[in-house]
């Protein structure tokens, strides 16, 4: 610590801190134009100059570190003169356009001109005109307004790591440009909008909000992004019931000001012309729908469901809820199935993504949730990223991974068959054959145990079953592992040593682990890695699933699963069952219900007669959708609650129009177990209702009174019934929310699980043999097909494709194919090809790329025109029944 005087006031600061930081400590305001706490100082704008006693000239306070005994003046006459001169110089080359500029009111240049009373510039007679350029999606430019602060260049370099902007030319000609002035779309830009968010003036702005309103006219509403499990905190700018733009608060976790393209520009779908705005009903699915009023629709649903329950029993009904829904809605859905219908046939769309995480992590550690927080990523020394194309699927989490590597020197081990972007940053890349995860991880375990690199103390005190594990992994020598996985044995050994050699090793994984026949096994294997090296229960360690949709964690926590109530309290545990039966005032069924895929099988077998599907589109996103659709068509009655006419809604008898996440109050729980408030920003469109209201209406009409005035009352009920949520209420969630478990009203939450003991007592080392995928390539279908997400889209595309800015960037699918195969098949990028599996076939354009592993092709599932899931296959996770989206066999031909 050194001590210095600023404007006569004494302050202590670290020697590494700048004068600017020290002044901020004192609450002294120094104007800045090129400074941002996230970026390395550049000293470009000279607005922040101060006078330091004894120094020959004024110094830039943002770039000068403090020293002991320094005497600083931030407001001396020469300082003020310099700043005024600076402003005059900037203004001489700036359009005099505040009257019509969208930035007015937020513009830093304008603000300082006001503060320093600079009315015009001596250095010019005529300010240049403004030069608007709205040719790019998302980002509006006006380079005549650029003051060359360089923040956009630096944030794109340092935070987003995309390096799109550069200073071009020199002298008066200097400007900010993409390489060769290419359109952003062709320059590698990922439209994260970071550059827009830091521009102090109106040179970079959000295109969709141009000319729609000034900052003081908008109401700012905080809410949570629903597009992925990062669950970024959003600030919506709303005027007259319309969202004008989305920004992020630099102080709020988990994203601290960062967003990806979906969070930033995915906010226009709600006003799409084809939003459902009236209940639709019909008697048979071959009839057209007709509009009905709510009363008619609700009583029809209630009557039909009661009829089916009476005729076929409660288990003829199944309910599916969605991770797009709030905790409160998921809670009510499972309450509806259990208390009103009397069945545990309850599931949610986590079944098709992270159900194996719940199964696997519960088996190993006792809790089916991420062990650490996302912020921990930045401080890890070694990161294993397995089966997660993080930069596309969880972009803001990827920023943390890149930061750990680029700025903090972490070592990165990437386990992925595809050459994903993170491979560029990897110390070791284990490019395994799809579906061989368990073998590969057994190989790593083998090396660690053989070389004695395990944490013996931790194993003895906190785990069980090490002997069996040793026996099983003994056979997975590096040679054998190479044979199964295709990964060179040297790399296996290297990766094992790196991970075992740190006390801050963190595992992050995605659906590339879970969507396999041995998905749950894969998760348990990763847990084995963490357990034998003792990398659990401390900061910067643990095993952390990145959840797909934002509320995958929450929908499972809320008991929208066939065997548990909230927070994994078992339905067949007599004490628990009694507790819920009493609370809900009815005898609840104790037999665990059907998982989603089992529901379709029962429907095919004519045993399941009715389904209620809330905000989920399995007819597009389940595997082998031809089967799923034919099962749905056999139902006597299908109710779907949706925003748009999805593939599933097209098969319904009743479609009920609901609200989207901008229109909701409630809570979401992100991948790090952070429960956070959604605040309704815009009114529900006329004719629609909240999902939770609809559930209550149906239940009450069926004779089970369900009434809440507000979602907060639902949360109060959840808290009463769930020890981990006991301390949670809406009031406490304001701000940045709470990380469960929150045991009582004073408990601060639990960012790190399993500190001293595991939820299940001892951590279980599961001894697992490698199980090959269900359907492997053969002579007829020689290629692996893997499916996954793309950066620009979300799920079935029903929301993301309806955002004009996003649609302008990405509007169609491409099948990724390796140049070797492409050459053999005579395929070039842009050619239309036919992809066929044993179950179906589709046509799609090809992209020839080395990103694909030789022998594998890749497709996303976002585009209705490319219904990838007609192809996907028969494989299912052995335990959780999650489809094996990552492996099936296909052939590709030129169409």
């Amino acid at each position: 610590m050194v001590s210095l005087l600023i404007d006569g006031k004494k302050v202590e600061a670290e020697p590494s801190q700048t004068i600017l930081q020290a002044a901020q400590k004192l609450g002294i305001h120094i104007p800045t134009l090129c400074h941002d706490p996230r970026l390395t100082p550049s000293g470009a704008c000279r607005m922040c100059v101060v006078e330091v006693e004894g120094a020959r000239s004024l110094v830039a306070s943002c770039a000068t570190t403090v020293s002991d005994g320094m005497k600083v003046s931030t407001r001396s006459e020469s300082v003020t003169r310099a700043r005024k001169l600076n402003l005059e110089l900037i203004w001489s080359d700036h359009p005099n356009d505040c009257l019509t500029c969208d930035k007015t009111g937020e513009c830093q240049l304008q603000k300082f001109m006001y503060e320093y009373d600079v009315k015009t510039s001596r250095f010019t007679e005529q300010n240049p005109p403004s030069a608007p350029d709205d040719s790019n999606p998302g980002i509006y430019r006006d380079m005549n307004k650029c003051i060359l602060c360089g923040k956009c260049v630096r944030i794109c370099d340092e935070v987003q790591d995309q390096h799109i902007w550069a200073f071009s030319n020199r002298g008066m000609q200097t400007s900010i440009a993409t390489a060769f002035e290419r359109p952003l779309k062709d320059s590698g830009c990922v439209f994260c909008g970071h550059c827009v968010s830091v521009c102090p003036v109106g040179a970079l702005m959000d295109r969709p909000s141009a000319k729609k309103g000034r900052p003081w006219e908008t109401k700012k509403v905080r809410t949570v992004c629903c597009y992925c499990g990062v669950g970024c905190s959003l600030m919506l700018h709303v005027k007259g019931g319309e969202i004008l733009k989305v920004t992020a608060d630099t102080h709020s976790p988990p994203n601290y000001g960062s967003l990806c393209v979906k969070g930033r520009y995915g906010y226009e779908f709600y006003k799409s012309q084809d939003r459902l705005t009236s209940p639709l009903i019909r008697d048979h699915i071959d009839q057209p729908f007709r509009e009905a009023n709510w009363e008619e629709a609700i009583s029809l649903v209630a009557r039909k469901l009661m009829e089916i329950k009476r005729k076929y029993g409660p288990d003829a009904f199944g309910c599916l809820s969605s991770s797009r829904g709030t905790n409160e809605e998921n809670y009510l859905a499972q309450k509806f199935a259990r208390a009103v219908m009397g069945t545990n046939n309850m599931d949610n769309c986590a079944r098709v993504c992270h159900a194996p995480s719940v199964t696997g992590l519960r088996a190993a550690l006792g809790s089916g949730a991420a062990t650490n927080s996302l912020a921990d990523i930045e401080g890890a020394e070694v990161l294993i990223v397995s089966g997660s194309n993080t930069t596309e699927a969880h972009p803001v989490a990827a920023l943390k991974i890149k930061k750990a590597v680029r700025q903090n020197g972490a070592k990165l081990i990437v386990i992925d068959p595809r050459e994903i972007e993170l491979v560029r940053h990897a110390t070791v890349w284990l490019r395994l054959k799809p579906g061989t995860n368990v073998a590969l991880i057994n190989g790593l375990l083998h090396v660690i145990l053989k070389e004695g690199l395990e944490n013996k103390e931790f194993i003895r005190q906190r785990t069980e079953n090490i002997d069996m594990l040793r026996q099983v992994v003994a056979q997975y020598t590096p040679e054998k592992t190479e044979e199964i996985t295709g990964v060179p044995k040297e790399d296996i050994i290297r990766a094992a040593r790196i991970y075992a050699g740190t006390k801050k090793g963190m595992i992050v994984y995605g659906l590339g682990m879970t969507e396999h026949k041995a998905g749950s096994h894969g998760v348990m294997s990763l847990a084995n890695l963490a357990l034998i090296t003792g990398n659990v229960g401390r900061p910067n360690t643990g095993i952390n699933p990145l959840r797909g949709q934002n509320n995958v964690q929450g929908s499972c926590d809320m008991g929208a699963l066939p065997d548990v109530y909230t927070c994994y309290q078992k339905v067949d545990d007599p004490v628990i069952n009694k507790k819920f039966s009493e609370a809900w005032g009815c005898q609840l069924p104790a037999k665990p219900g059907l998982k989603e895929p089992q529901m379709y099988r029962e429907a095919q077998a004519d045993k399941l007669k009715a389904m209620y599907i809330i905000g989920y589109d399995p007819a597009a996103t389940q595997a082998n959708i031809n089967e799923v659709k034919s099962a749905m068509k056999k139902l006597d009655f299908l109710v779907v609650q949706e925003l748009f006419m999805t593939e599933t809604a097209k098969l319904a008898h009743v479609v009920l129009p609901a609200g989207c996440f901008f229109e909701k109050d409630g809570t979401f729980t992100n991948a790090e177990r952070r429960v956070r408030r959604l605040n309704q920003a815009i009114p529900l469109p006329k004719g629609t209702k909240h999902d939770w209201e609809i559930i209550c209406l149906i239940a009450s009409t069926m004779g089970y009174p369900m009434h809440y005035n507000h979602p907060s009352e639902i949360m109060d009920e959840i808290a009463r019934l769930t020890p981990e949520f006991a301390g949670i209420d809406f009031k406490r969630l304001e701000g940045d929310g709470l990380v469960w478990p929150v045991w009582d009203k004073n408990h601060p939450g639990t960012p790190i699980l399993h500190k001293d003991t595991f939820t299940r007592g001892k951590g279980r080392l599961n001894d697992l043999l490698y199980t090959p995928s269900e359907e492997l390539p053969d002579d007829d279908y020689p290629l692996y097909l893997t499916t996954g997400r793309r950066l620009y889209h979300y799920n079935n595309g029903s929301m993301s494709l309806r955002n004009p800015e996003i649609y302008a960037i990405s509007s169609e699918e491409f099948v990724e194919i390796h140049p070797d195969e492409a050459e053999r098949l005579g395929i070039q990028t842009g050619d239309t090809v036919r992809v066929t599996s044993r179950r179906g076939s589709l046509e799609v354009k090809a992209e020839v790329t080395t990103k694909s592993r030789p022998g594998s092709v890749f497709l996303s599932f976002h585009f209705p025109e490319t219904p990838t899931n007609v192809l996907t296959g028969p494989g299912e996770d052995l335990l959780a029944l999650t489809p094996e989206y990552k492996v099936c066999a296909v052939k590709v031909e030129k169409a």
């Binding site: 799109i164 550069a166 390489a179 002035e181 320059s187 560029r424």
Partner: protein, 192 residues
């Protein structure tokens, strides 16, 4: 947007082998200080900076294309458009102007069948104008550059020809009549 990068996009197919060999001779980890020598090499072998070559450099070195572009535009020395083997610079400084530089330029445009600023189809000549080159007494002046780095000397007034690249030749008291002969001399030279 700066004029000199407006075209550039459709660069003719280029041979990258030489460039690859050159870059491979460097190290494996590149930083910004490597950019200029590489750009210099690119300009030397192609006569300008072809877009494809810069993309190739970016891919090989992992230096972002935007940064390479930024540096290329910073130095007037680098050019994004293919240039002729000889750059003909017509001085249009005041002294040369009053002595008829305009007519010389017009004659050159006619002879070469290009406009000032353009390059002949056979990539033999690029015609440019330049501010006072400091030898007004002998005006009108035409400078013919044999070097590829021709632009280095036309950024502004030169003092006593000090910065003129090697291979630049000054021609004084040029007239529409004698310019043809001068050009023919270069025209006749065979490629090495």
């Amino acid at each position: 947007m700066n004029k000199k990068m407006q075209k550039n996009q459709e660069s003719p197919d280029i041979e990258l082998q030489k460039l690859e060999d050159y870059i491979d001779k460097f190290h494996t980890k590149f930083d910004n200080s490597d950019i200029i020598p590489i750009l210099q090499f690119v300009q030397d072998i192609y006569g300008y900076l072809p877009c494809d070559a810069l993309e190739f450099v970016s891919k090989k070195t992992h230096i972002p294309l935007s940064r390479i572009y930024g540096i290329s535009t910073f130095y007037a020395h680098f050019s994004f458009v293919p240039r002729g083997k000889y750059t003909i610079k017509v001085c249009i400084g005041t002294a040369c102007h009053v002595r008829g530089a305009e007519k010389v330029n017009a004659k050159l445009e006619e002879l070469l069948n290009i406009k000032n600023g353009e390059t002949t189809a056979d990539y033999k000549f690029t015609l440019e104008s330049v501010g006072c080159v400091g030898t007004c007494a002998l005006g009108p002046i035409v400078v013919v550059g044999t070097s590829k780095k021709s632009e280095a000397c036309c950024g502004g007034p030169l003092k006593s020809g000090r910065n003129v690249s090697l291979g630049d030749k000054f021609h004084g008291q040029v007239t529409p009549e004698n310019i043809e002969e001068i050009i023919n001399k270069y025209q006749g030279e065979t490629d090495e």
